[in-house]
């Protein structure tokens, strides 16, 4: 499929999603606001915490807000646009994937596109915080890091989902892995050092979804800026490749037995 037709196709999918959101606008608003409140709750927690302790290994309240801005925002972006990023395993296991295979469109893209309303709450929250905390001079860097984080999240989701092509009943493992991923990303990254840090960057890339970005925003380091961008691009590309590789295996029938 050419680039232009892919773009047109995407537009159509989103038009449908937006129409649906408008149809259920009460739901849309309720879920957006609900998620917004949920996110703001954690600010209260951190406020109390830093009120007492001042800083954790260099991270203060300001850093947590930046973290929230990137993490929640990029998470919201991914979830709002590609809500099925977490359901790939489910589609494979229950056979829904076949539907997408029979259509003459880009499988992965088609599969991923769905709007989850709560994502907009996260997105609003993240962008709202960014508006208050990110200095104008760093807006561009923030934008790049923001997108990079979103790519990492998406890549991780696709990778986990694709492992279902190789391992039976992977859905539960995938779900736990996602929760763990988010949990690790959520807390101040400064608390990790040595092997843990390495693990959280290159094995479970939780660090690339906020932790490193915050450090870059506070004191810019070209080295880490490039690592962040390259890592996220690599991660996303690899996971997409991995998906199609697994898909070939699926189509050749090796995975049929699982769906019995």
């Amino acid at each position: 499929m050419g680039v232009k037709s892919t773009f047109v196709f995407l537009l159509e999918l989103y038009k449908r999603e937006i129409a649906s959101a408008f149809e259920y606008r009460f739901n849309f608003i309720a879920q957006t606001v609900g998620m917004l409140l949920n996110d703001m709750f954690w600010l209260v927690f951190w406020y109390i915490f830093f009120g007492k302790f001042g800083s954790i290994n260099g991270w203060q309240f300001k850093e947590i807000i930046l973290l929230n801005a990137i993490l929640a925002g990029s998470w919201g972006l991914t979830v709002s646009l590609f809500a099925n990023w977490k359901d790939i395993a489910k589609f494979i296991e229950n056979g829904s994937l076949d539907y997408y295979l029979t259509l003459p469109k880009n499988v992965l893209l088609h599969l991923l596109v769905k709007m989850q309303y709560s994502g907009f709450g996260d997105l609003l929250y993240g962008l709202g915080l960014a508006f208050f905390v990110v200095p104008k001079s760093k807006i561009l860097i923030f934008a790049v890091l923001f997108l990079s984080a979103a790519m990492t999240i998406l890549g991780f989701g696709i990778l986990l989902g694709s492992l279902t092509f190789y391992f039976k009943y992977f859905e539960q493992i995938a779900r736990t892995a996602r929760e763990v991923f988010l949990t690790f990303a959520f807390y101040p990254f400064s608390i990790y050092s040595g092997f843990t840090r390495f693990f959280l960057l290159f094995i479970i890339p939780a660090g690339f979804v906020g932790g490193i970005s915050v450090e870059i925003l506070i004191s810019f380091s070209l080295k880490w800026f490039l690592i962040q961008i390259l890592a996220s691009i690599f991660f996303l590309s690899f996971s997409v490749w991995f998906f199609y590789h697994g898909l070939k295996r699926y189509e050749s029938g090796n995975v049929i037995a699982m769906r019995g």
């Binding site: 609900g34 709750f41 927690f45 109390i48 302790f53 954790i56 763990v180 608390i191």
Partner: protein, 265 residues
């Protein structure tokens, strides 16, 4: 007699055995709790680098507190608000009226059974992790047993509130919001994320008068720093709250079940 204990015990016990077939899921949950404990291990390690004792807690005690609090909250399934609300909606509650068995007592038996079922995996795993990361803390067998008793009282208190909220959720037709508010209240006001001692005095002053603290903070603290006086006071408060909310539940249930019987639910 509808109140005979053996029927509820059997009910809980058999449900326990039935749930055993979903044992695998518990391992995943245990893993997740471990991740949380590990993260807080790192947080507190950084904070304790400057001070050895914070608000009376040593590093080891703080980590054990986190482990115990997390386990308590996880094993006392707050999602039961949704379950109760659903059971009213789908008429399951009506069906239980057809048997000589109390709805509330049967649910209590199942809730408590569910707590133990989760506890034997998650609790044990969390215990060993805390042991590895922070080493043992000062606690005698007696103090552990007594603290555990307090934990169970907290679980019972949580139960009566949860069922009442389930009815409320049904009437208001709004389960998620109620669940969310209650869960966050337990996180912050119950002391799951941080022991209440950390909070500024003026906040701590009024939080300590709420029931949430007696579901998590007080029992968990007893487990970590047992003090017989504290134990008696905590027990008194727990019984007090338990009696109050049981009365509330009694009214909620009586009115609720009447409405189901008049309106068909």
């Amino acid at each position: 007699m509808v109140l005979s204990v053996s029927k509820y015990f059997t009910l809980a016990f058999v449900d326990f055995r039935e749930k055993f077939y979903y044992f695998g899921a518990q391992l995943f949950h245990a893993f997740f709790i471990c991740v949380i404990i590990f993260i807080f291990f790192n947080i507190w390690k950084a904070i304790y680098a400057q001070k050895a004792v914070i608000e009376g807690f040593t590093f080891a005690q703080m980590l054990w507190y986190v482990a115990v609090a997390e386990v308590i909250v996880f094993c006392s399934d707050l999602r039961w608000i949704e379950t109760v609300s659903d059971e009213i909606k789908t008429g399951v509650i009506g069906i239980t009226l057809l048997k000589p068995m109390s709805y509330v007592l049967s649910r209590f038996a199942l809730f408590l059974g569910n707590f133990f079922y989760k506890f034997i995996v998650v609790g044990v795993v969390a215990f060993f992790l805390a042991l590895i990361l922070a080493g043992p803390i000062d606690a005698s067998i007696l103090s552990i047993v007594l603290s555990f008793f307090s934990i169970i009282l907290g679980v019972m208190l949580n139960f009566v509130i949860v069922v009442s909220l389930g009815f409320l959720a049904f009437w208001l037709e709004e389960t998620s919001a109620i669940f969310w508010i209650y869960q966050k209240s337990i996180f912050i006001l119950g002391g799951m994320l941080l022991p209440l001692d950390i909070y500024p005095d003026w906040i701590k002053g009024w939080i300590i008068n709420l029931p949430f603290a007696y579901m998590v903070y007080k029992p968990a603290k007893l487990m970590i720093q047992f003090n017989f006086n504290d134990f008696l006071i905590t027990l008194a408060w727990q019984f007090g709250w338990l009696i109050l909310f049981t009365v509330v539940l009694y009214f909620v249930y009586t009115v609720g079940i009447k409405r189901v019987q008049i309106n068909g639910g």
